[in-house]
């Protein structure tokens, strides 16, 4: 007997048309492979979709895919992930569950003493017992685990699978993996397989009381950083598991997505000009045709603004040579001259004023109204305007011009002045 485990597909994440295609192709390949290798069931522990209600294009695609699997009589068991959950069953996941293409495995009962008990559902063909809990944003699902009645679950006999969606600190392999992880000890013990979602790289480990804790990882990319990891050689795919009474084997099946080029430039102790030069030179050396090109500049410039590092020329050059997508990451780029000094204050208002007053001295402009106290006032007004939320029932195409006009008004400009 065997089952497939995939997660963090993030259907609908990609904004670029060509990447949307890859996103769908990869998913289709995986499901086709599941059908051809005749898996008994498929587990998807969360973040199948990037949002709970994705655009119609994505939904149509998903329905057609799941229809195929349904016709092949392969059940799919899921929990919500942090991206596609809905507290009021208002997710496309619920729609798919309603028509019977997938099954949500969480069968929870809440008790008066605030504890939660979970029931296992039984896969009719294999007899495997399956249960799990959804993942919520910022680790709010932790409370469920803390209140979980684990004795009954642990006492359950047979081949048991637990689906979860969330970072497990014991599984971390990289300190930069920040966010809300929870300790493995929160999961109930004694399951044969723990199907995890949320961490985007394949990871398979076993611990005392917890055999086979597995993250299948994203099959393509669910965050921008995933593409960069792909470019650096991260393998993507899904997991095939063979089992009888216990797990016999756990195999990572790689699914190729696209080819990449990565251009990395270290900006430490350099000026923008030399970085622009290096970018151009490195661009020449690669063949970008039909590839995703990642450009990454990080470090601290000795002088000038970070905006002086000009990617547009490079981007144009790559696009002319048929690059599929050019992704630029300048998040790690700072400048000694224009680094923002943090400042303290008793409240938000005070902190904002202090940050502006500590940093405004760095600026060199010909417009006195942008400097000193006047500049601080202007900056605070602008910040407050830009922070205005969307009004109830206000549409995006009403909100954006409203904020833009107000901001321009504060700056004393009109639309044409830009």
């Amino acid at each position: 007997m065997k089952f497939a485990h995939l997660s963090d597909v993030h259907l609908g994440f990609q904004k670029h048309e060509s990447l949307q295609k890859i996103e769908q192709q990869v998913f289709e390949k995986i499901l086709n492979q599941c059908i051809s290798s005749k898996v008994d069931f498929i587990l998807i522990p969360g973040d199948l979709f990037h949002v709970n209600i994705p655009e119609m294009r994505v939904q149509k695609f998903a329905f057609s895919m799941f229809r195929k699997v349904y016709d092949a009589k392969i059940p799919i068991y899921v929990v919500y992930g942090s991206h596609d959950f809905s507290p009021v069953s208002n997710s496309v996941i619920d729609l798919l569950a309603e028509v019977g293409y997938i099954t949500k495995v969480t069968q929870a009962k809440s008790h008066e003493d605030s504890t939660i008990s979970l029931e296992c559902l039984i896969d009719p063909k294999t007899g495997a017992k399956i249960t799990g809990l959804s993942g919520l944003k910022v680790g709010k699902d932790r409370e469920w685990y803390e209140k979980l009645d684990r004795d009954n679950l642990e006492a359950e006999s047979g081949f048991k699978i637990f689906l979860f969606h969330g970072g497990i600190s014991d599984m971390k392999t990289d300190s930069s993996m920040d966010g809300d992880q929870m300790p493995l000890s929160l999961l109930p013990k004694g399951f044969s397989y723990y199907a995890g979602g949320h961490m985007h790289k394949f990871n398979h480990q076993s611990f005392d009381g917890y055999a086979n804790v597995v993250y299948s990882g994203t099959p393509f990319a669910g965050y921008h950083a995933d593409l960069e990891d792909n470019a650096n050689g991260q393998k993507r795919g899904f997991v095939l598991v063979e089992f009888e009474d216990t797990v016999k084997s756990v195999e990572f099946v790689e699914i190729e997505n696209i080819t990449y080029e990565i251009i990395e430039v270290d900006a430490n102790n350099r000026k923008a000009e030399s970085i622009n030069q290096e970018l151009l030179e490195k661009t020449k050396d690669i063949d970008p045709a039909e590839k995703v090109v990642i450009i990454k500049v990080k470090g601290e410039l000795t002088s000038g603004k970070t905006a002086d590092v000009d990617i547009s020329l490079v981007r144009d050059n790559l696009n002319e040579r048929n690059a599929m997508v050019v992704n630029v990451s300048k998040n790690g780029l700072t400048s000694k001259e224009y680094s923002i000094t943090k400042a303290k204050g008793a409240n938000k208002e005070e902190i904002e004023t202090n940050v502006f007053s500590e940093n405004i001295g760095q600026l060199r402009f010909d417009y006195p109204e942008l400097l000193s106290d006047e500049g601080i006032k202007l900056a605070k007004k602008l910040l407050s305007e830009l922070g205005q939320p969307v009004l109830i029932n206000e549409k995006k195409n009403e909100y954006i011009p409203r904020i833009r006009d107000n901001a321009l008004g504060i700056l004393g400009l009109d639309d044409d002045a830009s």
């Binding site: 009021v88 969480t106 469920w144 685990y145 803390e146 990289d174 300190s175």
Partner: protein, 527 residues
């Protein structure tokens, strides 16, 4: 002052050793606090010695006793005994409190002669007000009487960055005190603590402990190698986190042995321990084809391997995978981020309790060393980038402190991270909370740097002398006082308290009963 509350009267003595006559019917104790009302201020004084006084000469008393004992005179009595025989108490001034502004100063003058004294009350101790972000230590104690309304709070940031020493012998309430202190630390995120818990007694795995703090869920992290209870973390540290310098000042390696270790580190970088353990010592020592390998003898290599094997409890399975028996160290992919995670938690002002009860002495210190080194480095970096002010104070709680800051350790081996922190940690807001039975073996330079000492009972004279000699207040007359401290009684001497405060530390169980979390009720929504 009404006559009923009078307990004695100043009859003589000198500054620091004032003699009072105890009023008949009162029962003064060593350590009692009393008050002498002065003009606009009052003096707080403390009894440090008690003796008999009598209007009848010694020889006469002895003769009377002879008559009483030897001749069987049974109804012999003193004429006006309260007047003739009495108790003299020797007291010392601790503080002068100015009524107008509750200002507390070190006294520099005697109380008025013949002044009548009374015992201290809660109203005299109003200056002990709780300030923001303080640590609760206990209640003011006058002799063995507890003044419950006078709570003692220490300024958390100050006391932890300036190091704390808890000298105590076994059974004097040391672990109760540490739990009481950590309970307050858990209240806020102003202090981060790394606690090396050699007896696994603070978290309360199966009994009352810190886990019952209402903020434990957010602020308390518990790492244990064995079967972590629900919500706790697994204490697994990947061998890749270990660097050769972590052994310095903790493990006795000879120079050639250290050289072999450094060589392995240079060759294999992060994987050096694993590679060193699977290297065939004979091959490595004998084979001269590689210049780096031939530099040390097979014997050296074998000793290094043996020491590491014992220290880290390492074994090899049949596939050559190195693992540790107690599972604290891992050579595969587990525990790669444990050290960083712990450091991050301490930096976030949390209390991180490491259950090191399964580890040997040296392995425990090594684990502490790996984490403390990283922590200190991060705080140094924060200082360099001007961000130190925003960080919480960090303290490292370590038991049997002489293991790392004892004279013999520091003279025979190199400095280790703990002694570095003791010497220079204050500049970087990193402090030690050192618990010890043997203060006398800690060098004076380090003892003097520990600016808060919470002294529990100690029957060893040599230890008391070391503590007294390095106290922040003059405790030269307190030797007997310290010797007579009962379980849970303590004296706090610190540059952050106005005078050496006698305190009673409450029972941790009582704190939990009063302030611990209550179980939730009501249904939880799951979707």
């Amino acid at each position: 002052m009404d006559e009923i509350s009078v307990v004695g009267q100043v009859v003589g003595g000198s500054f620091g050793d004032i003699v009072i006559r105890q009023k008949a019917g009162t029962d003064l104790e060593i350590g009692d606090l009393m008050v002498s009302e002065e003009n606009g201020s009052f003096l707080i004084l403390q009894v440090f010695s008690l003796e008999f006084g009598s209007q009848i000469q010694d020889k006469m008393q002895q003769m009377m006793s002879g008559v009483n004992l030897e001749q069987g005179v049974v109804d012999a009595q003193f004429y006006e005994p309260d007047f003739v025989n009495y108790v003299l108490a020797r007291i010392k001034p601790l503080a002068r409190v100015y009524r107008e502004n509750n200002d507390v100063k070190i006294p520099k003058s005697l109380p008025s002669f013949f002044n009548k004294l009374r015992l201290i009350t809660k109203d005299d101790l109003k200056f002990l007000q709780k300030e923001k972000d303080s640590v609760f230590v206990g209640y003011i104690r006058s002799g063995s009487k507890i003044i419950k309304e006078a709570e003692v709070w220490l300024p958390a940031e100050d006391v932890f960055s300036h190091h704390m020493l808890i000298p105590a012998t076994t059974g004097r309430g040391k672990s109760n005190l540490v739990k009481t202190i950590l309970w307050s630390v858990l209240d806020t995120n102003k202090v981060g603590a790394l606690v090396l818990d050699a007896h696994d007694e603070y978290f309360g795995r199966s009994e009352i402990g810190l886990k019952m703090h209402p903020r434990a869920k957010d602020n308390l992290m518990y790492y244990t190698p064995s079967d972590p209870p629900v919500g706790a973390n697994r204490l697994t540290i990947n061998l890749q986190s270990i660097r050769p310098e972590h052994f310095e000042g903790i493990v006795d390696f000879s120079d050639p042995q250290f050289q072999a270790i450094r060589m392995a580190h240079r060759q294999h970088r992060a994987n050096w321990v694993r590679e060193l353990m699977v290297t065939d010592a004979v091959d490595a020592g004998m084979e001269n084809t590689s210049p780096s390998r031939g530099e040390f003898a097979a014997a050296t290599m074998m000793v290094v391997q043996r020491k590491l094997r014992l220290l880290l409890s390492l074994e090899k399975d049949e596939e050559g995978v190195v693992f540790s028996r107690h599972k604290v160290f891992d050579s595969t992919t587990k525990g790669l981020t444990t050290v960083d995670d712990i450091v991050k938690d301490v930096e976030a002002g949390k209390v991180v309790v490491l259950d090191t009860s399964r580890l040997g002495d040296e392995a425990e210190l090594l684990v502490g060393n790996i984490i403390a080194s990283k922590l200190l480095q991060k705080y140094k970096d924060a200082k360099a980038s001007g961000e130190l002010e925003r960080k919480p104070v960090a303290t490292i709680v370590i038991e049997e402190a002489p293991r790392v800051i004892g004279v013999d350790v520091l003279t025979t081996r190199n400095d280790n991270i703990y002694s570095t922190i003791a010497k220079e940690g204050r500049k970087f807001k990193v402090g030690l909370t050192a618990i010890t039975q043997l203060s006398s073996v800690i060098p004076k330079t380090i003892l003097a740097n520990m600016n808060t000492k919470i002294i529990l009972g100690n029957e060893m004279k040599q230890e008391r002398e070391a503590i007294i000699a390095s106290a922040s207040q003059d405790l030269s007359e307190d030797d007997k006082n310290i010797a007579s401290l009962d379980k849970g009684e303590a004296i706090i001497t610190s540059i952050f308290v106005p005078f050496a405060l006698p305190v009673k530390i409450p029972l941790f169980e009582d704190i939990v009963k009063e302030k611990g979390m209550t179980p939730e009720s009501g249904k939880t929504k799951v979707f």
